[in-house]
Symmetry: C2
Subunit: 209 residues, 2 copies
Amino acid sequence: MKLYGYWRSTTSYRVRIALNLKQVDHTHVSVNLVAGEQGSAAYRSINPGRGVPTLVLDDGRILTQSMAILDWLEETHPTPALLPSDPYERAQVRAAALTIATDIHPVNNLRVIGRLKAMGHSQDEAVVWMNDWMTQGLAAFAALIRPDTPFCFGDAPCLADICLVPQLYNAHRWGADLSALARLTEIEARCLELPAFAAARPEAQVDAT
Amino acid sequence: MKLYGYWRSTTSYRVRIALNLKQVDHTHVSVNLVAGEQGSAAYRSINPGRGVPTLVLDDGRILTQSMAILDWLEETHPTPALLPSDPYERAQVRAAALTIATDIHPVNNLRVIGRLKAMGHSQDEAVVWMNDWMTQGLAAFAALIRPDTPFCFGDAPCLADICLVPQLYNAHRWGADLSALARLTEIEARCLELPAFAAARPEAQVDAT
């Protein structure tokens, strides 16, 4: 399968981690968001929302939206499991993951920041905007995970860790104040020691500049 | 179980529809977002993200994040099904639903609009902001659903319809131009003929003003 993504895209990063954890063979196709490649007619034909990532299966079938791709991966490649088997525990993991996927990432997306700038805001104002949503959202995330496990919810990384590590990449990038969130940066360090996470890092991608 | 929500909250509206479709007994507890009740210490103790909805089960267990609640409902109350059984088809439905849940709703959330106003923008500018994200995101949604079924993906409403109808409520509220999206408003009309959707409408809630 082919993963269309961008090195710095945190949603692409999520799917890269999951593909690596589940040892699913795939090739990367770079979509340069800064150059606007997501708006090309060719890309829009596979992803009408002009977002990354897009996963194209060997038979040509197309999957979009990172959280839907992650669910599909979990259902079709169940080992190692990214979600617990108990419905209530699954919902706890999903709620934490969605705190990042719905409350943090979308408001800091490249297109939203571009829109703020088109409305007259400076880069400095955009960075304050991003960091405020990140510190607020990550504090909520920290309150939703377990307090004392090696990873967010247990002894192995799950969907919440897969969403956390890319979001923290972005938090570091923009200098968000994570001093009150040591539990999260400790989990991040533990994740990045794993080859599946390390190989998925933005800096490790072929389109990194 | 108790559903903490707000009549105009589109995420609360999603869960109300699903509870009604699955005929799950529940009581509503109003959290007045405009009055800031989501920031109270009592509410933050059950929902650290200060969002609605929150579903509190009879044994006191707590579920947050509407999309996680909907997955939990689907897993614990499978009839009628809100997702197809085939993993690829499930991913298609999820991708459409997430286009609303991640690309549209979060950027138009009350707290984001409040932030824009705190940054000096007028109500008129906020409305343009909301409507632009809605028309752009709903066009992507329309490209992801089936072209010729009574509901988004078949003969019965699914997770995509459950996300669509509340988002269209918001689109109508702010006067978004839906003239190019007749397929969506036709599906909306079909949904609202069903008692489960009609009873979940914001106007039908006890806290509606």
